[in-house]
Symmetry: C3
Subunit: 155 residues, 3 copies
């Protein structure tokens, strides 16, 4: 294998306004505790036997694989939400599935959709679900806002 397979993961979320959409995204990463790392986006699996841990401080500048949902908006007053869901299989030798979803709208609605997405993904694999976790955050934009939810792979 070219890369090592991660052995731990954790869930984080954040929101922010900013000078530009990228600044708002940067602020959301900072609030989520992963703003001083180099996030590499990937699609979107929890390896078998990967352990859920509480968020840990990451070394500054480290290259860190993550699956995330992010949304920015420059419409003042707009409500935006970003969520991720993790479905873990009953069979521990199989992998879990991460789904990401972000859109205009309230947290409750977005979180329901992203959880359904993970359920559908496991149904497609024919794998019974042991556990379904999710994290979702909403944000009312001041000028230029961002919302982010992420699964960070680590270990």
């Amino acid at each position: 294998m070219i890369f090592k397979t991660p052995t731990q993961y954790f869930l984080v979320s954040g929101t922010s306004d900013g000078y530009t959409p990228l600044n708002a995204f940067d602020g959301a990463l900072l609030q989520a505790g992963i703003g001083n790392t180099n996030i590499i986006k990937m699609s979107s699996i929890v390896p078998p036997h990967c352990q859920l841990i509480a968020p840990v401080p990451l070394p500054p500048g480290a290259l860190v694989p993550a699956a995330y949902a992010a949304i920015t908006s420059d419409i003042p007053g707009e409500m935006i939400s970003a969520g991720i869901a993790v479905a873990l299989p009953e069979d521990e030798n199989q992998n879990g599935l991460i789904m990401e979803y972000s859109a205009k709208g309230e947290r409750r609605k977005i979180e329901e959709i992203v959880r359904n997405m993970a359920v559908e993904g496991m149904k497609l694999r024919g794998w019974p679900i042991k556990e379904l976790k999710s994290i979702c955050i909403e944000y009312k934009v001041k000028n230029v806002g961002a919302a982010l939810a992420a699964v960070v792979l680590w270990g």
Copy 2:
């Protein structure tokens, strides 16, 4: 170097309908045989001396670099296609080039364009082409559909 350079590669493709565009994309990855890995998108070179192999099962949750074309559509009945082309140079010490293209339309048209893209890319480098491979897949959307073609780096 931060990462090891891949020594093998293979071509895959897949299509699917799904509950959302991301679920359809997930289904296309599954059909392509790479749905239970963490795909890291990269642009888009076959290293010198990298060997073409038949698709192999990848360890679940592995971090895998890939170049891919993907398209989703929520227009029932629409035909979508995704293709990649790999141009290999006569000089084996030089690298090959991967091009990706996806759009509405039939496979034949999309595959012709992506092959031309790879030919043009090698022309820009001034490198004669020894071999031109491609893979392209079309899909008629039921409700929400996706088509995917990928070059997976491995080894």
Copy 3:
């Protein structure tokens, strides 16, 4: 850690016309000297103690993490620009911040915006800036054009 943390970085830029937007992007990568590598996009930190070096030739096909701004346009005569800025902190044990910005318009304007973005990002962290570097390039599109500015992590 899954990946090693980079110890060197360099700044590059390039522009090109091409047969398609992806070909133009490929040409811009080639002009920037990184067209024969596998760029993995990341967001967007210079690790502490990472050394700025002059651009070096990269091994063909190597997997290389980079933060970049890129823009393509198929409007003949349109001026496009891509820039990145790197803000380094006074405290050498803290990381630097990379910002990316690309848009229609002249280099001078885009470079000013991206530098401001980096200043704002450091302000959000509460970190005084020791040094602010940037690279920005403009391009007048012939048929289908691209402009690219990148920070390549290495070492």
